[in-house]
């Protein structure tokens, strides 16, 4: 059996195990470890189990341990803890009350507000996973409380989470910038309007969905006076203050995005304590709940990383990308094929893994077609973001499900997501057809 076949069989095995309800981390990790062992054991043609064990153990440890043993990723548990604490402290409920009071007549208003909240969170965090898990912890329970359909309450946030890497700062743009030697500042600027466009697209989806089926976002039969609205807005000061502290802190050069996570967690905790919503003795029990969810999230991500190493070893992604080289095609066919390849890889692999595996081969080709690499980067990041919400392996969906402690089933989240995926494809087409949307900001800043 050649290596590529091992890769295909592994993907199929993951699909099968996922379908029959084997936990996601177990399915991805178990298949990856087994297949890596097989690859190494038969590499030289003769069966070498001892060496294969040594290499498999080494690879599994470095992938898994490294992911956890990370300074930058500390922002994920910190932000998820922020979600728990802010909920307990009433901070999130207050802002949701304000959103409800102000947007009560707007169909799906609170879901739209959640997506806008994701956009705001994206401006302080560079990671889509952090965005989906934190905002999921914050927004989804509130929407469920307002009797929103679980599909809408989850899918809107899972999709909104993908704004995390499009709106700057963005880990994906940094990695893309390194692989293409293009200006990271320009890439950040280029992602801004495409992020806003995606956000508007998601809002449109929610609006149309609720128009067609009003029961998914019940509009209570109440009206609010101007005074009610003022009071609700005033009562949401803690959340607004928190957001501005973080925004000023990051863009004023006081702290990094990772540090912002710790600062806002401490800030929210103290706020909750001083306002009497949380007692000191409750902090540790609250954090214990948080850690239970983050453990499961990281374990999925660690297993996904081992799987990326397997795909690297089998050369599967390289085979896919060389399809581009084999055919003598025009630039638009090239871009179209890139889209197809990224959508396929996005079904299984995480964004960083896909970039590391494909960009080295793909970027030189893009250059021979004379494509603008900043614009191409926006297209690539948008494609990778779409991959986070496509089945079977949709990391945003998984972390969201874990963050809300599995209260909504993954199948339901996916079934709510197809509408958002539809608009994502439309946005993608617009971004490809109108490069100016991406390039306007970086050009005008030069």
């Amino acid at each position: 059996m050649d290596l590529t076949t091992v890769g295909y069989v592994a993907c199929f095995a993951v699909l099968l195990l996922l379908a029959i309800r084997v936990p996601i981390a177990f399915a991805i990790g178990g298949v990856a470890v087994t297949a890596i062992f097989i690859v190494f054991a038969f590499r030289t043609g003769t069966f070498l189990p001892e060496r294969a064990i040594r290499t498999t153990l080494s690879l599994a440890f470095s992938s898994g341990f490294d992911l956890v043993h990370s300074y930058d990723l500390s922002m994920i548990p910190l932000f998820i803890a922020l979600g728990h604490i802010a909920y307990k402290a009433g901070i999130t409920t207050e802002i949701y009350e304000a959103a409800r009071v102000w947007l009560v007549r707007l169909p799906g208003g609170v879901a739209i507000a959640s997506v806008a909240g994701c956009g705001g969170f994206a401006a302080i965090s560079g990671s889509s996973i952090a965005c989906a898990s934190t905002m999921g912890r914050i927004c989804t329970p509130e929407m469920l409380r307002l009797n929103y359909d679980p599909r809408l309450a989850t899918a809107s946030v899972a999709a909104g989470g993908t704004l995390g890497s499009l709106i700057p700062p963005s880990v994906l743009f940094i990695i893309y910038g390194i692989f293409t030697e293009s200006s990271i500042s320009q890439l950040f600027l280029a992602g801004f309007f495409p992020g806003i466009l995606s956000l508007l697209g998601y809002a449109l989806v929610i609006l149309l969905w609720v128009r067609a089926r009003p029961e998914v976002a019940p509009i209570p039969d109440v009206t609010f006076s101007a005074r009610d609205k003022m009071m609700a807005a005033l009562r949401s000061w803690p959340a607004v203050t928190l957001f501005f502290v973080v925004l000023v802190g990051i863009y004023g050069g006081f702290f990094t995005a990772t540090e912002a996570a710790a600062i806002s967690l401490l800030f929210a905790t103290l706020l909750g304590i001083f306002r009497g919503h949380i007692r000191w003795a409750e902090v540790i029990p609250l954090l214990r709940e948080t850690m239970a969810t983050t453990g499961a999230i990281f374990f999925i991500a660690a297993c996904a990383k081992i799987f990326v190493a397997l795909i690297a070893l089998t050369g599967l992604s390289g085979d896919l990308v060389t399809l581009l080289d084999a055919s003598n095609i025009g630039p638009w066919t090239f871009v179209a094929m890139v889209c197809v390849i990224y959508l396929v890889l996005g079904m299984f692999l995480d964004p960083v893994g896909i970039m590391v595996l494909t960009l080295p081969l793909m970027i030189p080709m893009a250059e021979t077609y004379g494509l603008n690499l900043i614009w191409f980067g926006v297209v690539i990041v948008k494609l990778l973001e779409i991959g986070l919400i496509t089945p079977p392996v949709g990391l945003n969906v998984f972390v969201l499900a874990a963050a809300i402690e599995d209260r909504v089933e993954i199948g339901q989240i996916f079934s709510g997501l197809w509408r958002f995926l539809g608009i994502d494809l439309v946005v993608l087409l617009i971004l490809i057809a109108v490069p100016a949307i991406s390039l306007f900001l970086p050009m005008s800043m030069n």
């Binding site: 470890v33 300074y71 500390s74 996570a261 967690l265 954090l287 850690m291 453990g295």
Partner: protein
């Protein structure tokens, strides 16, 4: 017994988050007001991430909190699903055994050689490896228990308990 240990592990995880949060905030303040960051803050945060993230894995397993895709399997007959649960535990054991074995090798190596990080305190590398081994060992124990419980359920045809 296992439950008590898990409770303790989860508490340590929560304390680790408190500690790394305070360390990062202290670093920001110290940089701003004392013109110098907290020594070795990056290494310390990374070390604390290991208990913070991995210690709760065991209780997540005993609560059956590992996320799975349900919507296809819910149409399967119960008997088949009970055998799938056995397969799931076995698949999990492949991962946990690999990580446990690998973690032990790594712990033994860093402990014997006394290797340490660079930086002001030159902190040893073995403690995070030791915590990794402890976390995965507890995870493995719970998976073995899950396997036994689910296998019993599959053989007897009675539903398995929701949590361990």
């Amino acid at each position: 017994m296992l439950n008590r240990i898990e409770q303790a592990l989860n508490t340590v995880a929560a304390l680790a988050i408190v500690a790394l949060c305070l360390l990062i905030v202290a670093n920001v303040l110290s940089r701003q007001f004392l013109q110098s960051g907290v020594p070795d803050v990056i290494v310390l945060v990374r070390e604390l991430m290991v208990p913070a993230i991995l210690f709760p894995l065991a209780s997540a397993t005993s609560q059956r909190a590992h996320v799975a895709i349900e919507f296809i399997a819910q149409h399967f007959p119960d008997g088949l699903n009970r055998w799938i649960a056995v397969l799931a535990a076995l698949t999990g054991l492949i991962v946990s055994t690999t990580l446990l074995w690998a973690g032990w090798n790594e712990f033994a190596k860093t402990f014997q050689s006394g290797s340490h990080y660079a930086g002001d305190f030159q902190l040893p590398k073995w403690p995070s490896r030791a915590m990794f081994v402890l976390a995965i060992a507890m995870f493995e124990l719970r998976l073995i228990q899950t396997l036994i419980v689910d296998l019993k359920a599959a053989l007897t045809g009675r539903p398995a308990p929701k949590t361990l």
